[in-house]
Assembly symmetry: C2
Homo-oligomer: 193 residues x 2
DNA sequence: TGTGTTTGCCTAATAGCTTTAGGCAAATTA
DNA sequence: TAATTTGCCTAAAGCTATTAGGCAAACACA
């Protein structure tokens, strides 16, 4: 009957943990209430709706991920930076599958524009500084890297690369070799056949 | 009161249409029952559960997509094949966003192994035949392409590339140029710095 | 320290989705 | 046409989401 000390903050954190433990789809207002041993309706003072909760968890994950990426990038450049940056995404996906899934939640444009997603793009550009691509090629490269990381983490988490050789580890390393080579050798034109 | 003629087949097809119209998350046994003007419980003779329904829609989409990809690949090779293949995925995502999302549903290993997902991998290998990569590099490349297409379609559908320049169209074309160049010039070793 | 206001968590209630059990009538088969 | 199968229905229970309104703990201040 006492007060538990609910906070939007605490709910979001607990939601992120729940996501990692049980999957992001399992994150529900009810499940969270259960976790705090509190009635469901009580959460509605701190969170507008189920959708709001999920969005907040997504934003939280995006922030956390951007912080990690920024740290990883500090003092690195070139392939070293590329690898460190990429590893942040992959490691996050493996250590925090739920948060990682949350970070992939579809956000409405305004929310997305105000999210740390923007920082992610900037950080990717920072990585590319080491490769010296002119605009608009740099933007294309940003999108390529985003697609690769997003896709790879997603597929790996879905189990796409398990139970088959070669190791996902090896593919990841070779993929980064390939991307590094590609960025150092970015084609200027539809390379003639 | 007459019989409507429900079938697992028809339910799956209608589910796929519903997904495209309203989003895959909106596909529910109830919504489908409404669409057939039938009581919810009636669907349970044709579908085991909500999860079963979604899985069947996912499998349907994977088949359809593999068929389209196979068609597109016929008679093509090299960059021509790569482009046609890639375009199938992107176009499918834009014409059938719901089915496309369904195709990205996490399947349990056995289901995935028996799905058309296997054909997708084979078709990707067919594309790579034009680039003559030795194993295990070919597998790495299959995974890279899978990641890029998966990620790009997903991000584009989420609106990631709208409202910003350059055009998503242009990025897609340049990305394929880049991937073509990369595959023709696949690095053999951690290219020394 | 007492008083008043805020506010956190509760009860109650409505509504939608999922799933199971059991029934009746239409379609199929003999 | 009679027997059997089977398709869709009613009924019911359980879970999630959400809103409205209430009471008491925490806080703010005199």
């Amino acid at each position: 009957m006492g007060r538990v000390g609910l906070t939007t903050e605490r709910l979001v954190r607990a939601g992120a943990e729940l996501a990692d433990e049980a999957g992001f789809e399992q994150v529900t207002v009810s499940a969270l209430a259960r976790r705090f041993d509190v009635k469901v309706a009580s959460l509605y003072s701190h969170v507008q709706s189920s959708q709001d909760l999920k969005t907040r968890i997504a934003l939280f994950a995006l922030e956390e991920l951007a912080d990690l990426a920024a740290d990883a990038l500090a003092g690195r450049s070139g392939k070293d930076a590329l690898t460190a940056f990429a590893d942040v995404y992959r490691d996050y996906g493996r250590e925090h599958p739920g948060r990682s899934a949350a970070a992939r939640l579809r956000l409405d444009p305004e929310t997305a524009a105000a999210s740390a997603g923007v920082r992610h793009a900037q950080l990717t550009r920072a990585v590319l500084r080491g490769y010296d691509l002119p605009e608009p090629e740099q933007t294309h490269a940003v999108r390529l890297l985003g697609s690769v990381f997003h896709g790879y983490v997603s597929l790996e988490l879905a189990g796409g690369f398990s139970h088959s050789l070669p190791d996902s580890e090896e593919t990841w390393a070779r993929m980064l070799d390939a991307l590094d080579a590609l960025l150092r050798n970015w084609p200027t034109r539809p390379t003639g056949a």
